[in-house]
Amino acid sequence: MTDLKPSASAATDAVLRALADPHRRQILRLVRHTELPAGQIAANFTLTQQAVSQHIGVLKQAGLLTERREGTRRLYALRHESLEPVRELLAEFWPDALSRLKKAVEAAHPRPPKR
């Protein structure tokens, strides 16, 4: 389990773990185009404010959110560039699949070696 793909760095792992939770994905959707204070984010959930704060903490830790103070409020927004490594992973989905297709086809239909 240690032979991770080179692109699956620790930072990417943190992003993937942060994205694994549907509530956290919902938070990212809320702040994708706009900055919101924690209270307003929490208002979209039936979760306790504390639970939402924890999710925000995980997202911040993973670098997915920016935090800006305005008076006593903290405003959060999606850090778009943090999704770049994940876009790269997604781009590997089909190439990985096609290389398995190549293996499967060529194993089932071996060619005699050329002379």
Partner: protein, 136 residues
């Protein structure tokens, strides 16, 4: 093999040492498709026919749009229950071009919304898991 993303389009290519006639059924025959993607498949390779791939943690569902053996097929692709990428939302086109006795496969996945990235992750991690098991 190569891949690139432009404006939420993924293009993947692969060179396979077999003719298109041999490669094509790997996109239309349930027993053959699961040799390279998914654990279980329900495929009805005709326009409007179901395209369903059970990949363990993620199910991809869509419909065949175009089936032109052995050179080209198009199917839609989505995840049941996903707001960002419901079944039918995105489109996958596969073109098989003869290269001598071999085949050049060009796969283009379009209409992928950026918000889908998080949802796709489980499938990718599942794939990574398979790769790890193969490697180990």
């Amino acid at each position: 093999m190569t891949a690139e993303i432009r404006n939420d389009v993924i293009v993947a290519t692969e060179h396979i040492k077999a003719p298109p006639e041999v490669v094509f059924p790997y996109f239309t025959d349930p027993a053959l498709i699961v040799e390279w993607i998914g654990d279980r498949a329900e495929l009805d390779p005709q326009p409007g026919g179901v395209f369903l791939l059970d990949m363990g943690e993620v199910v991809a569902r869509g419909a065949y749009v175009t089936v032109e053996p052995p050179y080209r097929l198009v199917f839609s692709w989505g995840i049941p229950g996903s707001d960002a990428l419901p079944p039918g939302r995105s489109t996958v086109e596969v073109v098989l071009t003869p290269d001598g006795d071999d085949t050049m496969v060009v796969l283009t996945h379009t209409d992928l919304p950026p918000t889908h990235i998080g949802n796709h992750r489980a499938g990718w991690e599942h794939r990574l898991g398979l790769l790890r098991r193969e490697a180990g």
